[in-house]
Subunit: 147 residues, 2 copies
DNA sequence: CCAATTCCTATACAACCTATAGGATATTAT
DNA sequence: ATAATATCCTATAGGTTGTATAGGAATTGG
């Protein structure tokens, strides 16, 4: 039986980049209390409705503190240096980029026997590379241009 | 005026993975003369027509030698160790993953002045990281499991 | 000539990303 | 009480892109 091994590489879409902009915006307004979606929407020029779906992910992921009602909004839960880009992107980019190796076809003796895919280790290593880098960059690093 | 800077990250779809399988297949049958699309299609279980569009890119990119007509087909132009995964993927994945920074909105003093995007350097570095790695892995490395 | 094969262009389908819309409910400040 | 706001839900529409197929023209070897 051929096992089907997959690697899911990080994928970056607007959802992820907007999420970063939200996080940056919140970081830039630390210590100003709760920031409303409207304020972020105005500053970042993204519709409130679209932001809503993105911020919702960040909030459910435990990255933010929220307050309902008048003067409510969102705040960072931790100082900016304790957030890393990797976790933000993995949270919002639910749909990743799957790279699968099907173990080649019937005719391929080598691959059937080894039951592995020749490209699989490469994808794995690439995936590790990407995530390791993005996990080293903090939100504070972005704000400070410390890249 | 706000400039709109973009980075295009490597994107991996079936087009790219099939291209790799084709290249691996051709490498596994080095010194057997021209290999027809039909042979590759049979071995790799991908329709000839789809393979055609992919091989066409590889061929136009100068990675292959082709011969039309009866007993025609494709051959690697160089030994497998002289091909690197990066060039193969960049060739076939014409559509990349664009990550743009719009320089934030009107309200953001910092970003207007510096005329740059806070996330831009990170995307650039990530892009470099990915391409550097894939440019170090050769086709031969894949065949030998030398990852 | 004939068969095999590359080469070229067009097209259809599905999936997904992007974004918007509307509304119902809960919570908070004043 | 009222206004403002988060929270939650569903639906939907447009556009883009990935995936794959189809048909035929040009070329080559025998």
């Amino acid at each position: 039986m051929l096992t089907d091994r997959k690697v899911s590489l990080m994928m970056i879409s607007t959802k992820g980049t907007y999420a970063l902009r939200v996080m940056i915006d919140l970081a830039q307004h630390e210590n100003e209390g709760y920031i409303s979606l409207k304020a972020i929407s105005d500053r970042q020029q993204v519709s409130m409705k679209y932001l809503e779906s993105i911020v919702s992910l960040l909030n459910k992921g435990g990255l933010l503190t929220s307050l309902r009602g008048k003067d409510g909004g969102y705040m960072l839960k931790k100082p900016a240096e304790e957030y890393h880009i990797g976790e933000i992107l993995r949270l919002t980019e639910g749909g990743l980029m799957p790279v699968s190796c099907h173990g080649f076809s019937e005719g391929d003796e080598e691959c059937r026997n080894v039951n592995s895919c020749l490209t699989f280790p490469m994808w794995q290593k690439l995936d590790t590379l990407i995530n390791d880098y993005l996990d080293k960059v903090s939100l504070r690093d972005l704000l400070d241009g410390n890249i």
